[in-house]
C-alpha cells in the first residue's frame, strides 16, 4: 500500500501521513509519494519538503559536570591534587555510583534531585 506525506504547498508544513488520502486533495495541499511508512529515525523538513534524518541527541555527562562546572569548584580543587591512578579510581567509583543517571538531558539539572518536588 502506497504511503503519502501531505503538506501545505506554500509553507511546507506537514499535515498528514498515511495510505488513505482524499481525492482530489484540497487546494493548497501537495501529496508526496513515499516508499513506505517514514522511519522513526527521520523527521519532516519543511524547507526540503522531505523526510530527513533526525538529529542525534547530545547528552551531558554528569561526570564532566563534576569536573568542569563552577558549582563543584571544591570537588575540582581536591581532584586536581590527585595523581592519575587515584583519579581513575575515583572516576570508576563515580561511574558505578551514578549508573543510569550519569548522562542527562541538556535541559535537565545537574543535581540528581534538582527539579524533583
Amino acid at each position: 500500500m502506497a504511503w503519502y506525506a501531505i503538506y501545505e504547498t506554500a509553507t511546507g508544513r506537514l499535515r498528514s501521513v498515511g495510505t488513505v488520502i482524499t481525492d482530489p486533495l484540497a487546494p493548497g495541499l501537495t501529496a508526496l509519494s513515499l516508499p513506505g511508512r517514514p522511519a522513526d529515525t527521520t523527521m519532516w523538513d519543511e524547507v526540503t519538503r522531505s523526510f530527513i534524518p533526525r538529529p542525534v541527541k547530545v547528552l551531558a555527562d554528569r561526570l564532566q559536570d563534576l569536573l568542569t562546572h563552577a558549582d563543584y569548584a571544591d570537588f575540582q580543587t581536591v581532584w586536581n591534587t590527585l595523581n592519575a591512578a587515584r583519579k581513575q579510581q575515583i572516576r570508576d567509583a563515580l561511574i558505578r555510583l551514578l549508573g543510569g543517571r550519569r548522562y542527562r538531558n541538556q535541559s535537565e539539572p545537574i543535581g540528581l534531585d534538582a527539579g524533583v518536588p
Binding site: L14, G18, I21, D40, N105, S107, E108
Partner: protein, 273 residues
Amino acid sequence: MADWSLMGDGQRFDTVGETSPTDGATVTADVSANTEGAYTQLVASTLFDAGGFLVIAGNNNKASFLLDIAMGAAAAEQIIVADLLYQVNTRMIAGALFIPLPIPAGTRIAARCQSSGGSNTMRATVTYFAGGWLLAQPLSRCTTYGSAAADSGGSQLDPGGTANTKGAYTELTASCTEDIKALLIAVGNGANTTSTNGQWLLDVAVGAATSEQIIIPDLFIESGLTTNLTMMPAFIGPIPVNIPSATRIAARVMSTVTDATDRLIDVVVYGFS
C-alpha cells in the same frame, strides 16, 4: 438487610498471576530483541465466568515492551489482547487496565511479551470479575492498531519543532477491521530514558488524510522527573466510541517540548468490538 442486588455487576473477583512474596508473575521476552517470548501461565483454570478483567503490569527494565494476554491450553493459546504497550520506567506499574472482554469459567490465562532488549522481563497479574444478570452484553473482540513489532513499540507521533502547535496526523490504521465500540489508548515515550519534563495534548481522529475528524480531542499527557520520565497516563480508556469498520484512524500531538527526540511519543490504540 444487605444490599446484594441480583442485578448488580462485579459480585465476584479473583486475581491470578500474583506470586510470593508480593509481586506479579514474571513474563520474559525472548533472548533476541523484539521477539515474542514464551507464554507464562497466570492461572490454569478460572473459577467463574468473567464479564471483564483488569491487567496490572509493569516493566522490570528500562525498555519498550509489548504484552499479549491469551487464553487456552499451552501451545494452543489464543491471544485476546495483543501488544499492550509498556514504556514505563523500571519497577513502575503503568496502571490497571480495564479490558471489557469475557472469559469463560475454566479458562487458562497466559501472558507473553517482547521487548526492545533481549531477555527483558515484566510482571503481570490479571483480576477478573463476574458480571450480574443485567450486565450489558460484553464486547467480544479486541483489535490492536499501531503497534510496531520491529521495535516493540507503537506508532511514533511527532508534534514538530514548534512548541504548543499540533503536529501532523500519523495513520494508525488505514482501515479498522471491525466496528469499534470502545477504544483504549496506550502512550509511551519510545523508551527514551533521558527525556525531559514536558506536556502533550493528543488528538485521535478518523477519516482520510487531510480530512481527519477529531473524535477524542486533547488528551492530556505529562512526563518528567516526577514520573521518572514515564508518560502519564500510560493508558487512557477504554473510551466509548462508535467507529465503523473500514475507517482510517489517525492521531496527532502537540507538546511543550521541541527537542527532536524528546518531543516524540509512541501511541497504540485497541479497538473493542
